[in-house]
């Protein structure tokens, strides 16, 4: 176990992230959470028969929590995100809110499931199957879906199957190099944009995880050094968390849905820019004048 921890530590230290980048990530991550607070309280109105938790701690509950408890959960999440934004109890809060560094491995599980269930079979087009099912059963018929529904190019759909499995299984291989991992994450942001436009699913929180590997201080202003009394920080964090909770209650679920959609577009724009810059550097470095 100690050896594994040492290896993870060594890998983390290989990176060129600075404290300023982490500070910006903290702000971006908590702002992302505050803007996309999930309305879970409505779950309490579901019939008792629908309570079928996955294996895990939720199985300890005998039924869905009450409306008040779920509402409390929403408020606590907002308050924790507020604390994170103001840099209070960041270590504890970060552990509570997310373990975002597991991106590559979680993709492996998804890629493995696809690999084992026939996605690479040339006689099936899994992406097309899931797309058509979502289109008709779940009304995922926005963006480019109405155009794509008439797209019956079998080879193209098969390429989509193979690229999806390749990306999900291959991401973990790039972890050995921060440069390759960043390039792979940039490609993945475009993959998520494609999913949004065709299958209408916004994997926005993935992007908050990818954001941990971006050098924010290189594109954003230098981290500001705002020093306030700790007690005032608590007040501001509580006010912000409660304010955002109230705002989401007022705006309804469409607001966080729209924000999540914007996050996917923004992530893809950043990913495309990053890829373009890296490509430009590679071309410049490879040109005769630079040799």
């Amino acid at each position: 176990m100690t050896a594994t921890i040492s290896r993870i530590d060594a890998w983390c230290r290989q990176g060129d992230l600075r404290l300023e980048d982490i500070a910006w990530l903290r702000v971006i991550y908590s702002a992302g959470l505050l803007l996309t607070l999930q309305p879970v309280a409505a779950l309490s109105s579901r019939p008792v028969d629908q309570f079928d938790p996955p294996p895990g701690p939720i199985m300890l509950l005998s039924a869905l929590p009450s409306h008040a408890m779920l509402e409390g959960l929403e408020i606590i999440t907002a308050l924790l995100a507020g604390l994170l934004l103001f840099g209070l109890h960041t270590r504890t809060v970060s552990i509570l809110l997310a373990l975002a560094l597991m991106i590559a491995l979680s993709f492996v599980t998804a890629g493995w499931a696809k690999f084992r269930s026939g996605w690479l079979d040339l006689d099936t087009h899994a992406v097309q199957g899931h797309f058509i099912r979502g289109f008709f059963v779940q009304s995922r018929d926005g963006w480019l879906a109405p155009e794509v529904i008439d797209l019956h190019l079998g080879r193209l759909w098969e390429v989509a199957d193979w690229l999806t499995v390749g990306l999900e299984l291959g991401l973990v291989l790039t972890v050995v190099s921060w440069r390759w991992f960043r390039l792979a994450l940039a490609v993945t942001t475009l993959f998520h944009l494609g999913i949004l436009l065709v299958i209408n699913i916004a994997f926005s929180w993935n992007l908050l995880g990818y954001a941990a590997f971006y050098r924010w201080a290189s594109v954003l202003p230098p981290a500001f050094d705002l020093r306030i009394r700790r007690s005032l920080g608590y007040v501001l964090a509580a006010a912000l968390g409660a304010g955002m909770y109230a705002f989401h209650e007022w705006a309804g679920p469409s607001f966080q849905h729209d924000v999540r959609t914007c996050m996917v577009f923004l992530g893809a724009a950043l990913g495309a820019t990053y890829l373009a810059v890296q490509l430009g550097r590679a071309v410049t470095a490879g040109s005769p004048a630079e040799r």
């Binding site: 176990m1 373990l99 560094l101 597991m102 979680s106 599980t109 099936t124």
Partner: protein
């Protein structure tokens, strides 16, 4: 503590994957949505899928009509009507909520909600959908007489 937690998560990944395939996907766990399996086959150029069709007193309604407060999660409702065609177990509070939602949608007092599960096939070459086997049907009394 945090590095140890992360290390345990990483080291236990094969066990998590095995457990997910044998039992169910655990939570928490290191999983992205898998979208496993495929419903499309080139042999007959169709995609098969299962739908749940809701009608109130003969009028077709959408799942979103029953969950007015959150259209985005309306698909969750389909799980409320199990495929086995058993008698629907709907508690009183949910029944009242569904009744008022349908009243708002249709403008009249609802009587009976009919639920039908069936297979459909999307034909890739023609773009047409054909109905398949009916898997289950049952009814829920939404009238005010219900306790």
């Amino acid at each position: 503590v945090l590095p140890a937690v992360l290390a345990v998560l990483v080291v236990s990944l094969p066990a998590q994957v095995k457990f997910a395939s044998l039992v169910a996907e655990p939570y928490p766990g290191l999983f992205q949505p898998a979208f496993n399996g495929t419903s499309q086959r080139n042999s007959d150029r169709t995609v098969k899928f299962t739908t749940v069709e809701l009608t109130v007193d003969g009028r077709r309604i959408e799942p979103s009509d029953l969950i007015l407060e959150d259209d985005d999660r309306a698909e969750v409702l389909t799980t409320a009507f199990p495929l086995d065609g058993d008698e629907a177990q709907v508690d009183d509070a949910t029944l009242r909520s569904m009744r008022s939602a349908v009243l708002r949608r249709l403008g009249t007092d609802p009587g009976e909600l009919s639920v039908r599960w069936e297979h459909r096939r999307f034909h890739l070459d023609t773009g047409k959908i054909t109905r398949g086997k009916t898997l289950a049907t049952y009814r829920v009394d939404l009238s005010g007489d219900n306790p």
